[in-house]
Amino acid sequence: MRINRPVTQRQCWWLLATAVSVLAPLARQLPLWLVAAITGTLLIRGLLTYRQWRLPPRWLLVPLTFIGTGLVLWHYRTLVGRVPGIALLAVLLSLKLLELRVARDALTVVLLAYFLVLAQFMFDQGIPAGLLAVLSVVITTATLAAASDDRPPPLALVRRCAIMLLQGIPFMLVLFILFPRIDGPLWGLPQDRHSATSGLSDSMSPGSIAQLAQSDAVAFRVKFDGPVPPQSQLYWRGPVMSDYDGRTWRVTQRNIVRPQVPYLIDNTARDAIRYELTLEPHGQRWLMVLEMPDAPPANAGLTSDLQFLSNQAVRTRLRYTQTSVPDTAFGQDETPQELASALTLPRSGNPRIREVAATWRVQANSQVGAGDTAITATPAADALILKAAEEFFLRQLLAYTLTPPLLGENAVDDFVFGTKKGFCEHFASAFVFALRAAGVPARVVAGYQGGEINPVDGFLVVRQYDAHAWTEVWLSGRGWVRIDPTAITMPRRIADNFISAVPSGEPIPLFARADLSWLRAVRNRFDAVANGWNQMVLGYNAAKQREFLQNLGIGEPDWRRMTALLAGICGVLMLLLTTWILWQRQKLDPALRIWQNFARKLERRGIQWQPWEGPLDFAQRAGEHWPERREQIHAFAQRYARLRYARTTDEGKTSALNALRRALRAI
């Protein structure tokens, strides 16, 4: 590329196509006014190219650049960070198109375009996005080729570049697998504004989980090492909520205070469950764990109420391996503060349930012989109260529904004694309220319950509609015990899935419906492909790389060995490609090839054939130098001349060629 060659009209069209191909996939991420401005700029550039009008002068472009930058700054209040940075690059790219004068400008546009392809990946790395990016790369590369030679027709250029990219793919694969991976970030990521992600939130009010149940977005996927545990064991623990204001439950503990789990656990137990969980980004810090893990994942810890928190909000897909042991007792020596907060209730509200709870306390206390009036904490009585509460909830004939009616001021009373219809959050909320009113420490735990095995790849897929809320009750000597009030009234919710528990006719997500099995089969297939892509391509990080190389038998790979391996394989590939590319297919005429053999034979005798010599002239000269073979040489030359210059048929040619070969051998 000669840097100073002016840009032609054809090259302008190429550059415009490049800009469109890299900017279009980003349009969804950029504010509307910016998309409109960029589209306008590109249209103007297209008009200028079409009419071959003069480009705007520099005194106009410089202020435009400042205005563009200023607008981006005004919109985002910053220029650092992912989205503002990309918006700025998009502005610069479109303005650079107005300044295409020489090949150097074209090169700038092309390199910016390559970078903007990377920018697409910051938002979406799915298979469709990847394919779209491949298209952008092909167009951008064709533009690069057109920048040095724009004469070939567009399709020929695209084809040539696509072939070159295909030839580059072996190198890409080797580098992808062997290039030493470093887990980012290399520097602190600027805090982006929250992008909308679905998932559990740090509070729970009536209806919030029922709303989540309308979404069939994947929350996380799990690969079990052994057999899949029964559905009723699949309690994926998330945020723990202790604080209640009469309507909404809230998370109180937000800081990691323990690096390790505070309970005794035997991870060599026979029923220990080993699994690898791939969590979709949800913008919060909770990590979903199966009850109860032996250790927090890397870069994570525990709060005092045993929520597993990541050090940073989960904004990218996160994968961790864990071992959980079901029925592990925990929290036997809970602190008094923790117990106190698990007893706190608003001072007023829900009088009826408080009344019922008081009777449980009185009866239980009398049964254990601790007096019958005082509402004092009597640990021995707590188990009896729990039993009474369970029986009470069963007797109330509560119904499970995705569309719970609205509740009034006294939400718990309205639910338990009035509407009697609710989703899991209603059950959990009412149950904890009742127990606390009776003086038993209890708290709400949110998370996911169950999941569905994808028969295509064997992964357990947990979706947003598997979101669930249950309770943990503290019993002296036993610690925190999981009680699921939904299961008390609706055992099918836990044994099977939530769809089977919901009355027919309710609006359940399309893909969750049991009657559309073919749709589910299609969905499972797509999901398996997407998951394979996530696991193998997107999730290929330093740890996976180490695992993979160890499986290949490369042992503990250090960077030196990997670099050597990388260089070796790339060298071999390069050699193969070089031989292939430089392979000269000798498409010589067979007669000419025999003539060359003849010339070589005589050359060994010291008789050099000169390219301008005709066959007969050369034979004359050669015969003088080598009189013993004069006749044979003449015979050969005459045959050759006849074959080359006289008219022959195809059959005649074959026999003439054979005769020529014989004549050569005779010399």
Binding site: M164, G168, G184, L582
Partner: protein, 335 residues
């Protein structure tokens, strides 16, 4: 600029030594020149360096944001870079170059050296750029057609009469992406003849006197047909008896003779010009005379010190005369 002069000299010196080493044989080299793998060099261009920089930036971005597809992108671009090295290299390697014709020119006109490029491949080799060594001129760009020969004409300005040799040529290609530059040096033995510049204010042709024997100023004798004789290759084509040839296709060609052609003779002599006239000017005047005499259609001869050309006419005659003027008094005579 003065400050950098030694540096520039040093650079040129180093470059010169490199080329000497690279060519391996002392110029001029035997032809045809085959660009073997060993004599084609490859380095990234400035655009290629910028591309590499962009790759590093993309790699850092992919690392920082843990973008697996970002790694994929940068490695794909890396693979493309490796492949483009090979393609650029391949565009030059195994090209065969033969010297072609060099038309004589008059001093002051550009002389064109014709190089014949033979491409035995089934693909065209586009964007071959020829440039004299270390020249900053815009190069000559040629596509070598698939399975065919193409020509590249390298133009050099001329100032003085004499022989002009083709300087060492740099053959460069940056095809297909402009990221990589593959080049080779050529120095085939090629020389062109530069005739003296015809004088603009020359004295008239020396008609009359002892030098013009029996010359008449009207050249009408040309049209008087005098008979036929066997054709010689040097005869002007327009004197061939084409009609006779068409009537009898198998008989040898004949040349028509004209009675007037031998009637006019003129001698162009070194001694006809004043001694005060400098050498080059004298040659310029003689050059002009030759052209004028040829145009007038007379038989003209030349007498120079140590050179004599019997009267005659025609393109070959003129070329011989002009060549004698071009090489007059030069140390290295014509080959």
């Amino acid at each position: 600029m003065e400050l950098f002069a030694p540096l520039t000299r040093l650079r040129r010196h180093v470059h010169e030594r490199f080329v000497r080493w690279a060519l391996r044989v002392r110029p001029p080299e035997p032809t045809p020149i085959v660009l073997t793998q060993r004599r084609v060099y490859v380095l990234p261009t400035r655009a290629g360096l910028a591309y590499a920089m962009a790759m590093v930036v993309i790699l850092l971005g992919a690392m920082n944001y843990n973008l697996s597809l970002g790694y994929g992108l940068v490695f794909l671009l890396g693979g493309l870079a490796i492949v483009t090295i090979l393609h650029t290299f391949r565009n030059l390697v195994q090209l065969v170059i033969r010297p072609g014709r060099v038309e004589p020119v008059f001093a002051g006109e550009p002389v064109g050296f014709e190089l014949i490029l033979e491409n035995t491949r089934r693909e065209t080799r586009p964007g071959l750029q020829f440039n004299p060594f270390m020249s900053d001129e815009e190069p000559v760009e040629v596509d070598a057609e698939a399975g065919n020969s193409s020509t590249a004409i390298i133009s050099l300005p001329t100032e003085r009469r004499g022989l002009v040799e083709l300087p060492r040529i740099t053959l460069t290609t940056m095809w297909p992406l402009g990221l990589i530059r593959a080049w080779s040096y050529l120095s085939p033995a090629m020389r062109g003849i530069v005739y003296p510049k015809p004088a603009t204010h020359a004295p008239p042709l020396p008609w009359g006197g002892e030098s013009a024997q029996g010359a008449t100023r009207d050249g009408s004798g040309r049209d008087d047909f005098a008979g036929l004789r066997a054709h010689h290759p040097a005869d002007p084509p327009r004197h061939v008896a084409w009609k006779a040839a068409a009537r009898q296709p198998d008989s040898p060609l004949l040349t028509k003779l004209f009675s007037g052609a031998a009637a006019e003779r003129i001698w162009l002599q070194w001694d006809d010009l004043p001694d005060t006239l400098p050498l080059e000017d004298r040659l310029s005047v003689l050059c002009r005379w030759m052209l004028d005499a040829e145009k007038a259609g007379v038989a003209w001869g030349v007498r120079l010190p140590a050179f004599r050309l019997e009267p005659g006419s025609g393109a070959g005659h003129l070329a011989e005369g002009l060549r004698a003027l071009a090489l007059y008094g030069l140390e290295r005579a014509a080959p």
